[in-house]
Amino acid sequence: MTVLAATETVGNPLANIGIFALFVVITLFVVIKASKKNQTADQFFTGGRSFSGPQNGIAIAGDYLSAASFLGIAGAIAVYGYDGFLYSIGFLVAWLVALLLVAELLRNTGRFTMADVLSFRLKQRPVRMAAATSTLTVSLFYLLAQMAGAGGLVALLLDIKSKSGQSIVIAVVGILMIVYVLVGGMKGTTWVQIIKAVLLIAGAAIMTVMVLAKFGLNFSEILGSAQTAISGSTDKAVAARDVLAPGAQYGGSVTSQINFLSLALALVLGTAGLPHVLMRFYTVPTAKEARRSVVWAIALIGAFYLFTLVLGYGAAALVGPDRILAAAGGQNSAAPLLAFELGGVILLGVISAVAFATILAVVAGLTITASASFAHDVYASVLKSHQVTEDEQVRVSRITAVVLGVLAIGLGILANGQNIAFLVALAFAIAAAANLPTIVYSLYWKRFNTRGALWSMYGGLISTLVLIVFSPAVSGAKTAMIPGVDFAWFPLANPGIVSIPLAFVLGIIGTVTSKVPGDPTLDAEMEVRSLTGVGAEKAVAH
């Protein structure tokens, strides 16, 4: 991403930093308060399962509405119009998969991680290992996307243009995240998500009302002004776009259309396979509360995406495409520029702080998930054959969190400037291919067995990664990660349309070719537990 000469000084960097610092102080206070009881594994990994459905629903929204959602989607709508809207629909509809097929059964069956459910009636070690591998991979890509986003954001909001300055900010984000996770555990992290979600959704709602008010509550007029502003762009390619219809971003060729289908598939099937989303279902006391969580999450996330629709077109109409594209951070700057246009320094400061808080909260959620999976699945089950105390699992998890945090800082600095939306889409594609088929099969298909699970998980994971490496996203295109060389032979930037069906098919082939019979008693126990909640983990009494 080339940073054009930033002609625009946006707001007051000191105000932006100040409001963000206030957020950090408040959340740290909450985290420390929440950490009083953080000794047992149940408390560290699940917050004692004591959150209510609505609380967890808000936290899920906080986890899910990442910087890519907020800045990325509003920006894509502002610049490409309708095609940006398509993203948000995939992200929302995906929640029905989680609600109808996964959330409650997962809550009833598992304890700390996704692998608890997947390995329930299969061979523990290999399945846990596979599930942990894909959990760590998905979390790492998602983490990378957030950290890379932080770099672009500081360029715009704190007026820090040097790469070294941005690197320092990325490091600060990483260190804060480590502190949240170490001190607060799942409980502290959840409260950070809740605070952030409330601020983000409230901020977006206020901006939406202000935009609507400017146009006399007439949405059609916003659309008209947005199209007029786009058509008036000095960039001929931008001016030619019809932003009210699909096709501005993905309409160019058959390849880009198929690319779009591939992305749409990964978005809708990826959510219910994201490990940090799945782990949130363990923070509530019962399956019914898990259901309520998803309902709250769907309501909040749906409302938020409707706001971004107004904000995106509003930014096109009020700020204009030329100013957005010329700002440091490119299209990601649409929402902050709109905030400045509407409410000056204060509103921009609030929105900037919220955007930072978003990154911070999401990376904290990812880190606790990944470190729990390492401690619980890899360390305790695979390496130590369950011969570890829970305290030791927590200790290993804390160490893992620090290692992951340091890794994320390093990789985030390297990835600074990469396309955030692409990295997030990639994480969704891996989640949809490597995790979702096995989750669905193990919950609903009696015959499903270990070989099916391993083939599906590793097949989905490896095929996604291989296709990505040989895609135009990595080499052979102007926007590629490694420009200048060309070893791409796979035409699509998003591999989901190949790797997701492949993983589903591999699960079936692996299952039917395996002669190892399933254990009918484990199957009975899993099915009865998953549907009724018999023997499910209870909330920790305080």
């Binding site: 309708y82 809207f85 398509l86 629909i89 995939g90 929302l92 509809v93 929640w95 029905l96 998969v97 609600l99 109808l100 097929l101 409650e104 304890r111 007439n218 059609s220 007029e221 659309l223 008209g224 199209q227 019809d242 009210l244 219809a245 699909p246 309409g251 259309q257 198929i258 779009f260 289908l261 749409a264 809708v268 259901r291 309902v295 769907i298 309501a299 749906g302 995406y305 409707l306 619980h376 305790a380 089950s381 369950h386 011969q387 570890v388 829970e390 699992q393 009918p520 008693t521 199957d523 009975a524 126990e525 099915e527 009865v528 537990r529 549907l531 009724t532 909640g533 018999v534 023997g535």
Partner: protein
């Protein structure tokens, strides 16, 4: 001494018996009869939308009123359908699933002590 998986409070035989029991089969059938068709419906509806978005630009650009076109209405329709299906499922689960699951839970956890 496994620390990650607590031994089940119920015996394997109890789970096998429960799985085979008519009341459990009833719960299972009701869940699947609701969840599978509903999943198919929203996936087909989403696929329709995505395919129209990818290949039928002109149709999606058809103006309906003011600057609002078919594409925007179908897109907003995805929001509406998501909210409606969520509502239907919650009502169904509260009425049909929860009481049955609670009865089975009481039966199994009650026989224990």
């Amino acid at each position: 001494m496994p620390t990650t998986d607590r031994p089940p409070a119920n015996t394997a035989q109890q789970f096998l018996d429960m799985q085979a029991s008519p009341e459990f089969q009833e719960l299972r059938t009701r869940l699947r009869r609701f969840v599978f068709p509903m999943t198919a419906i929203f996936l087909v509806w989403y696929a329709t939308y995505v395919l129209l978005g990818a290949f039928a630009h002109d149709f999606m650009a058809t103006a309906v009123f003011g600057n609002v076109n078919v594409g925007l209405l179908i897109g907003l329709g995805q929001f509406v359908s998501t909210f409606v299906i969520t509502g239907l499922y919650v009502r169904f689960a509260n009425r049909e699933l929860d009481p049955r699951a609670a009865a089975i839970r009481a039966e199994m956890e009650g026989t224990e002590r």
